[in-house]
Each structure stands twice: as structure tokens, then as C-alpha cells.
Subunit: 547 residues, 2 copies
Amino acid sequence: MTTGVRNILFIMIDQLRWDYLSCYGAKSLQTPHVDALAARGVRFTRAYAQGTSCGNSRASFYTGRHVRSHGATWNDIPFGVDQWTLGEYMHERGLQTVLMGKTHMRPDSNGLVRLGLDPGEGLGFSLAECGFVLGERDDGLHPEGPLGYYSARPPRYNDYLRSHGFTGRNPWLEWANAGEDEQCRIVSGFYIENAHRPARVPAEHSETAYMTGRAMEFIDAAGDTPWCLHLSYIKPHWPLIAPAPYHRLYGPEDVPPALRSEIERTAPHPLLRGFMNHRVSQTFTRDEVRARAIPTYMGLVRQIDDEIGRLMAYLHEKRRFDDTLIVLTADHGDYLGDHWLGEKDLFHDASVKLPLIVVDPSSASDAARGSACDALVGAIDLIPTFIETLGGTPPRHRLEGLSLQPWLHGKVPSSWREAVFSECDYARLPVAKAMGLDALEARMTMAFDGRWKYIHCLGFAPMLYDLKDDPDELRDLGRVASYASIRERMKDLMIDWAAGLRNRTAIDDKEMTELTGKSLQQGILIGFWSEDDVPAEMRPRPLNAPN
Amino acid sequence: MTTGVRNILFIMIDQLRWDYLSCYGAKSLQTPHVDALAARGVRFTRAYAQGTSCGNSRASFYTGRHVRSHGATWNDIPFGVDQWTLGEYMHERGLQTVLMGKTHMRPDSNGLVRLGLDPGEGLGFSLAECGFVLGERDDGLHPEGPLGYYSARPPRYNDYLRSHGFTGRNPWLEWANAGEDEQCRIVSGFYIENAHRPARVPAEHSETAYMTGRAMEFIDAAGDTPWCLHLSYIKPHWPLIAPAPYHRLYGPEDVPPALRSEIERTAPHPLLRGFMNHRVSQTFTRDEVRARAIPTYMGLVRQIDDEIGRLMAYLHEKRRFDDTLIVLTADHGDYLGDHWLGEKDLFHDASVKLPLIVVDPSSASDAARGSACDALVGAIDLIPTFIETLGGTPPRHRLEGLSLQPWLHGKVPSSWREAVFSECDYARLPVAKAMGLDALEARMTMAFDGRWKYIHCLGFAPMLYDLKDDPDELRDLGRVASYASIRERMKDLMIDWAAGLRNRTAIDDKEMTELTGKSLQQGILIGFWSEDDVPAEMRPRPLNAPN
């Protein structure tokens, strides 16, 4: 079906919890512009990340494949050169594919060297950067420590800040992600005690506004050339510091109570206990931390909402509203102290569940506008959705996701997945060392069927949550004898899933089908007693016939 | 440990059943030269193929990875360019890596084109041919049918035959794999009714002798340059026709009784029934077929044994006996009518179990000479064994096998795998069509723990065999209620196995470890309330310090 869609605007918001948007139920925090997108499109209420940190989750967005299949198992772990990426799929459909912001992708340098490809140009560059060939990559992490800078290169944003008078060695750190204390000393946004201070740049020069502006510049320059624009906001990811007035829109009274209970600490799963022992978990367990950090997190989300409002107005002005598919999502959430945890990586909804809003401007979607969809969906579904929206057929020998188009058009597909899956390789987290696990043993896999969330933990007992009777996921049933049959059923789903992953990626279904049955007519005669048993049209020429 | 081994001789015998060697218990068929290898080395009694047809099994031998990981799921399905292969690992250790015979590898042409590599030369050729850079590839399948030749190119062996007076359009088919009937008509070796006739070439010009000769030529030419030689025999794979005298060494009286029972046909697993319906299964179920085919199969094995004797004498003469590791194995077996089945693909021992003999010439192996080892081992273990034997450390972030060196040195490693796994993608077999399965649904996975053989069948009930109480695998317990707890335990092994496969292949454990903990000292300060909480040596410079 042709939809008239020519462009894709794929907005990702780093570390945005699904429930910190008013259309998903946030209370004090209002996000009217995101809500307006939801009113124009479909809001998915059970969307899940395929990985729970930036690198692995994004790799699933950018390849349409599970972590087990692409192999970028955590931050800074590359996937191999063989993986097709968003940019490559979009290029096939004739779209200029542009990044503005973060991908967190580390190129497979070893693989590129092995193949004699230069990551700095042409094909090598495209493979090294998810197929994005234009735009501005900025992963939003530019601090410096005793071992030097975290990022190899300073961001273009530093030059931008300097050109606006925010000078110094590293304006990203000293202005955009810093505040000033009562003694007018510059203090770092990395320290949570400073989260209530305004950033040292005005909102219009913050990272969020800057990237929005870069996206608008691109849209303007592109004119009528079709594009896929990945606008990838860095906030509300830490450092938690917001420019005025967003630093003071919310206060401790707006902070939702922590989702946690004493039961969770009584006899937790050993891995859960290990994660609770992480410094960030201990920190976010303190009420003063939540009271200081979360209002700023909310302010940063609110700023993004305002910038999305600005961007939508611009799209409208440029007459791109009716031919652009718009997606708004996140790479994962943030515990923010829920379940006695900080950061992400585990599989409670606070971490693994995603906001996902898709606006299909075509008339085929009119019936679905403003609706909520509770189908089990995920990061891997975006590339197939984009391809189908642009009139193509998603190559399912590589892509593990499903096109969301039926849901976007208000239809119920005849079959859909029974469960969603997500994975975590925690080898690089302190818990692995504390548990004595080596680099290949720290693996968890989640299966969620809409009610039961089963988590396979290599080397440990599983976890199990019943989201119907225990929606806040406070009671781990993984070792409760009476739930054995539920666990067995979830294991069956997990084995089937693993067996059905797309490993035969080198040839598509068409090539596969063409091969089949051909060999018999090329003389490969298996299991025939005599020539008489071979159908006449399949028979090779007699051996003693003249050449 | 340095072993003094400089060369690797890796002999593969196509479609050789593990129990058609006298050292593995064959009765009439005597294989003294293979037995002599077993007497010099270690004979593995529980070696298993990771795939059950030529292409997928060999891809596991050539990559050291399971089918699920390399993706060459059946014959003519390529694995991707990212996969490292035997030749590449051996090249790293300074060995010239040479193929004489069959690989059945189809190059990833799409992947090579995408990366701008020419499969005809240099890196592209190496990637297209498992890293073999010298030698002679001959997959041993050169028939012709109404759609033309099966192989793209005629074999060099055709030229060889012509130079010895065996002329014609396709001497492989007309001489080496043909016989003559009573009316002196040339008849094809593809038809089993002709299996008792002598081939039209003398033994010394048969494929088996030819490839042995080619191997000897290479060994002679190589001199003292270290090498890895993959001598890959085509026989006893069909066409089943043997040169004199091997065509008449065995008769119907030498054919072992078929391993099968009426129980198997009473209410078989639906997939087993589907495979029983294949033409080749129906054919090999007939006693006259077994009586005609199996003596020739035995004769072909006996010929290989003689050629191995010739090769060993040559190695000895060339003083290569003490610095060459020798491996003899097969890619899979052949049902030959057992279980009412023909060919391979399923997971009874007749199909999935391998002969595997490894001769380590170093003195460290003296204690183990002539011993049998019942450890669970497989195709994926060869590359790690080769690397360790040559003094290297197998890169376990890619390789899924384990080095056999402890067993070769008569030691029991402190830990070993609990089960072996094998896979089958039967999408291209008639059973898939008969079952209405599409190109991605036809998947089976076997787990064998030394007693229980559990087979997960995507979309169907599992199969289960108890090899202790039912060593002939005649009774499928997959749907017998009282074995539910066994099945659950095997499922747990399968989930653990799948979760532990090597997907993070782009960086090794060392790079992984170096990354860990570094970010904190590059200023990534997560979960700190204030600077006071950061250990002094990790602290970034104060922000208001002079540059």
C-alpha cells in the first residue's frame, strides 16, 4: 500500500522513562506537544527495548535485530560489518539518511581493518556510523578525567557555544552541563547535589535546543529530497542539570513516590541484590537524591517537549506534515530509585519499557488517530515499519521485527508475536565482578508475554513477575514452587524465540526458494534405484549418448 | 605448552558413518590404517556434528561456531563475511592453509558485493573459500540434468582423467562415477541398481586416489614450510560406485541388520513421519537397496583406508610424522535405511555422530596413545585444538568450541561442557513443504548430555531418546508424560547454551576488560551526590581551575 509518506522523522530521547510523559500518565509533568503527537498518531502502551543500556538498545533500533543477533551486547561493543543498518535500508528506498545527535555506536574497527576499509570515508564510514552519511553525531558525553577525555573528539557544539561567548577549554562541561554555587564557583552537573541549579547557558543554547535547530536546518536544506532524519536527543540522560526556567518548574513535591517495597530487600535474587549494591542504586535509594534529581529530570523532559513543539511548528510551516512519518521513542528508561535501583540494565518496566508514539500522516491511518495500542512491540519493529510505509517489503531473513503498519491503520493483524524479548550483558558492570563472573557469563534474557515477565539469568535461578496481579513488579516469583508451570511455559517461548532468530542472513527467502528443487534437475539424483524411477522431464541424458 | 607440532593434516571423509570403521566396531569391514591412527592417537567415542548436512556441518568445522552463530544453515547457504575461518586462524599462526577436495562452502556473494570485494582474488577469494589460499577445491558433485550442470565449473579432475585416456564430455560422470552393464552400456553411479558394478576407472585413477595424490604433491612441494592441509574426501558420499576391487570386497552377507523397529512406524513424531516419506527414505527401507548399496559404501570406505595407509607411509618417508597433528573425521553419517530413513539431516547417531581420531605426535600425548575418550566433543572443537597445539590461545569471544588438548594429553580438564548441540534447518527438504512450513520455520535443535538426546522442533512437540536404556534410539519419549522432568532439564541446558553463544565477536576479552572501569577516570561520574564521594585519584580537575 502506498501511503504518500516520503520522509521519516525518527526522534529518540535518551533515557526517557515511558511514564514521564503526560500522555502516558505522568501527573505534575505536562508534555502537551508530545501529547499532541499521540493525538495525531498511535500511542503504544506495551513497547519494549531489546536491550537495556544505550549501546545495545540502539543497535537493535538501528539493525532491526535482537542483541543476540547483532552482537553489540553493551555500550562500546560494536556489531559486525555484516549487519545492515537503518541508513542502508533507507538508502535502498532513496532516502537521504541523517543523524542529528547520539547513536552510541562504536564502529567495528577490527572488522573494518580486516576488510581493508577506512572508517573515515565512503563505505567504511557508512558501515562505521549505522549508514548515516550526513548530519552531526554527538553522543553527549564529553567530560574529562585523570585519564583524559571520554570522547575521542570534542563536539561541534563546543564551537557553537564558543561562538556565542561561552568560551573555555570544554564549554560542554563548563557551561552547558555546569551550574554556579552560592559563592559563584562553577560546579559540575555530574554531581547530583547541583541538579537544582540552572545550567550556565540559557535554554536557547542548551544541547536540546541546539540539536532541534540542527534538525530544522537540515529539513530546510533538504527541500523536496526525501529524507530519514534521526533526531536523537541527549537529555534527560545525565548530567542532570537544566537551563532556566526548566531547572525550577518542578520541585520535590512533584516527585512520584518510589516504586519499591521492603519485600524486595528481604531475600532478593542474588543478581538483584548485586545491582542494588551498585553505587548509583545506593545513591538513588536516598530520598534527598530523588528529591534533588527527579525535578530536574522532569524539567529536561519538559524542555524537550517544548522543543518538539517548536520542531512541529516548523515542519508544518515547511509543509512536511503530510508526507512525514513521525516516531517518538526512547532507548530505555531510568530506575530513578524505584526497586532500590538507579540507572537501567535490569528488566522492570521503569528500565525496559519504552514510550512509543508513531504518527502516520496518510489517510489510511485516520481511523487510528489518538488511539492507544497494547500490542507487544519493540525497537526492532521500526525499520520494518519504515520500509513498509515507504512502499517496500521488509527483508525478513535479516529483520527480526514486524511492521507496525496494521496497528497504525487501526487493523488487527491475523497473527502477532506472543512475547517480546530483551537482553542484558552485564559483564562490564560491577555486579559481574562481585559475583566472580567472567566476560562471557554475565547474561540475562527477558521474555514478557503481556502478563508474565520471565528473566533467564545464565548461571542463576530465573526471575518471574506477574504484571497482572503485581503491576509494580514488587514480588519475584522466580523461585516460588507453585509457579513452576508458568516458568516452563515462558521457557518454551524463549527456546522457540532463540531457534527462530534470523541467522541465515546471506540470502533472502527468494534465493532460498529458487535453490530448492533445482538440484534434481541438475543431475543430483538421490535415492533412485533406477532411471525408471526418475520422472521423464528430470532425467539426465543417457551416458552413452553422443555429445 | 609447545608441542613441537608444525603442521596440521585435517582429513575429512564425506558422509562416513562413525560405526563403519573397524576401530569403532564395524564387523566385516576392516580399516587397518585408520585403526593404526587410532592406536597412535585418541579415538573420541562421543563426537557430534553441529549440523547434519554437508554445508552446515562443514561451516561449523571451518568456523569453530555453531550453526546458529555462523548462519550457513544448510547446503548452499553462505555464512557472512564477518565469520573468521580455519584458514584465517591458521594464517595467523604462520601456516600455509591448503584445501584438497570438498568444502561445500558457497561464498557470501551478496556480502562481498556490498563490501566491494572481488571473490576471485586476494581477500575476497580468501573470504569466499574459508581462508584456503592454495590447493584444489572439488566438491565432488559434477552431474548434469535438464537444467544443466550442478557445479559452476568442471573439476580439474576431468582434465586429469582425460590425460589418462578417459575422455568425453564429463569424465567424472562417464568414467569415475559410472559402470557398464551386461550389454556394455554405460550406466550411471547415481542409480543404486548399479552400485555393485565396478567403476569405469581403475582404483588408482579414482577420486579417492587422485585427491590423496594431490595431497602428497602438496606435502612434497611445501618442504619445511609449515602447513595446514585439509584433505577432504568425497567418498563414500553418493554416487555409490567403487572401482575394482573395492566393488566386490563386500556382499549382502556383510550388511549389518537395519537399526529399526515397528514401534517407530506406529505413531511417529510428525516430523519423523515426514522424513520417512522422503523418496530416499522409502528407497533405503527396501532390503534390496541396502543389500546393493551398503557393500559398495563399505568398499569405498575400505579404499579410503588403503589410501590413508599410502598417505601415512608417505608422511613417514617425508619425515613429517613427528611434527604433524593428524585429524580424521567426517561431516556427518548416513542412515542407510536405519530408522526407516535414508541420507542424514535428523539426529539419530547414524546421522549426527562422528568418527573422530586425533593423533598428537608430541611426547606429551604418549600416555594417551591408543585410548578412547568418551568426552562430549564436536566439530567446533577442532580450530581451538589446532590453535592450542600450535602454541596459541583460542580466541574464545568468537570460537564456541573447546581445545581437545587436555584429552589428547591424557588429562581430565577441571570442567567440560555438559552437553553437545546440533542443528538442522530443513526448509529446503520436501518435508517442510509437506508440513506447510515456510523458509524460516523449519528448525530443529538437538541437545545430548551423554544419556538423553532432546530435540527441540520449532512448532512441534520435542523428541527425546534415552541412549542408556535404548541405545539404538528406537523409542521416542518426547511426548511421554512421565519424562516431563527430563525434558525440562534438557530445555534448561538448551536455554543456557543459546544464551552463552558467542555474539560479541567484534572485540576480544582483553579489549572488553580494558574498557571496563576506564570511563570513571574519563569523567563519567554516575551516581555521585558530590565531589567528596569520588575517590581523590578519580576526580576530574575543578571546573574553575585555570586551563
